[in-house]
């Protein structure tokens, strides 16, 4: 499912408070099957943007097309949008409410047209995808689960409708390294299976390693967009260099100060390791 954003703006109606995120004249395109990262400081408008993409707010001006259809046009089927776009907000575990895990995961399927056995099969699939034993967990109360399990049930509830576009708002904030890797592996698998992924994150390493394209927001404006590597290289050349650099890029900067110049395309850990090997094992002086 491709997404086309044209001159999108959003203003909040009330007198300006300090934390109000607005968006100004954003245009970009996301291809079907892409894995897109959204980067930006707190309050840059990231959350507003994903709320607009999910049709949870209507833009002040501009248009969003999903597969060529304007999602804010009169007559556009909201329910189809809900089935197409899955959104996971921060703290997904607060969004659990049904009495059993099975009912909770099935919540979104109510309007999908699936019935009876089909629903159960879909719920089973979603829970098993998230690493649960379906029979064991289906009748448990979601509130009795551990924090990590709640999170996984919440994700199962979102993927149960098989959305073609999955949006995650800060999904790895606060996770420890292993949970973080597990989550990113899972998202990559979903992406490889054809789902378009949009992920908002503060974690530069995760964005650099996993996403294909990057959107950079600053104070409600889209200041850069493009293939992830290219965006990181451009961001490094900006004067306010602290914005959006990976740890590897920071080391490259430090090395450059000591007269060891590595290629500017070094963005990820793997790049840095390869470049250093090349430089230090003689290849660089050949």
């Amino acid at each position: 499912m491709s997404i086309q954003i044209e001159n999108l703006s959003y203003k909040y109606g009330q007198p300006a408070g300090e934390k109000v995120e607005a968006l100004q004249d954003i245009s970009c395109a996301i291809a079907a099957g892409d894995f897109v990262g959204i980067m930006g400081h707190t309050g840059c408008g990231k959350t507003t943007l994903i709320q607009l993409l999910a049709g949870l707010r209507a833009p002040t001006s501009g248009r969003i097309y999903i597969n060529g259809e304007d999602i804010n046009a009169k007559g556009y089927d909201r329910n189809r949008l809900r089935q197409t776009v899955g959104v996971m907000f921060q703290n997904p575990e607060y969004q659990l409410f049904a009495t059993t895990v099975e009912k909770d995961v099935a919540f979104g399927l109510k309007y999908s047209g699936l019935r009876g056995q089909e629903v159960t099969a879909r719920v089973r699939w979603a829970l098993e995808t998230m690493g649960f034993d379906f029979e064991k967990v289906r009748n448990q109360s979601p509130l009795a689960l551990s924090g990590g399990e709640k999170r996984r049930v919440a994700i199962a509830g979102v993927i149960a409708t098989r959305p073609q576009i999955l949006i995650f708002d800060e999904p790895i904030a606060g996770l420890d390294p292993y949970s973080r890797e597990n989550f990113l592996q899972f998202v990559t698998q979903m992406n490889q299976a054809g789902t378009t992924i949009i992920m908002v994150s503060h974690n530069m390493e995760a964005l650099a390693e996993y996403t294909q394209h990057l959107l950079v927001l600053e104070k409600g404006r889209l200041i850069d967009a493009g293939p992830t590597r290219e965006v990181f290289i451009r961001l490094k050349q900006r004067k306010d260099g602290a914005f959006g650099q990976t740890a590897a890029q920071k080391i490259v900067t430090l090395l450059a100060e000591r007269e060891l110049k590595l290629p500017p395309a070094v963005v990820t850990y793997g790049d840095l390791l390869a470049a250093l090997k090349h430089e230090l094992t003689g290849g660089g002086r050949g």
Binding site: T42, L175, D176, P177, R258, L260, Y269, L273, K277, L280
Partner: protein, 277 residues
Amino acid sequence: MLVTGKNISFTYDFGGAAFALQDVDITIAQGEFVAILGCNGSGKSTLVKHFNALLQLQQGALKVAQIDVGNTEEIWLLRRLCGMVFQNPDNQFVSSVVEEDIAFGLENYEVPRGEFPARVRSALALVEMDGYEKRAPNSLSGGQKQRVALAGVLALEPEIIIFDEATAMLDPSGRQEVVKIMHKLHKTGKTIIAITHYVEETVAADKIILMHQGRVLACGHPRAILTDLDLMKKAELIPPLPVRLYYDLQQAGVNLSNCPLTNEEFVEAICQFRSKT
């Protein structure tokens, strides 16, 4: 020793018999910067909640600043000496005005009202939030909220300051702000106990206590802990980037003189390596 704990064990009584803490021994010296490192569920937060008696000691012995934490008579003194900043910046404010929130602790210790303005001002100065007295905590960024929460703790002039995953919910710039203030306070002689799963935040500590599944896996200088790959794996953590680079380069035949912890050390080691060859 400012903190000495022996054989501390603890179980949350949710029916499940799993230990949240098991036979934990711990010592922390006056003026030390101690990082308690571990993944989710390793028991680190449970451990420090014993230091100011937010959790009651079930087994073992624990003394903090010469006070036995089981002694209910001295619990209030203990909590004044041992301040704590919590994980969620939104859930620790009692007032919608910064200065009133900072005054909350002062009121609890019956500090005369006349001293309030000066103490509030100096606490805010310590966290570099001068002039924010009249603001609403709600209108601040995550890093600023945590600094205001810290000011509320500092107004009571504690000896020990515990950061209970105080950076976990912040964005990178907010995290940097808080970590910077931690080190600044450490320089003024305060004992700092920082709980985290971000290994980068522990490299400058005097000591790391590494926890996993309710036990202390290891305790020692960051260099000894963070460069031990097996240990880090056992703790389900990923070593800092310079450490990973060091070992990966070693496999490629590049032997740096010693294992660096920070980016600066790493760059230094690379330069040394180059001048040698």
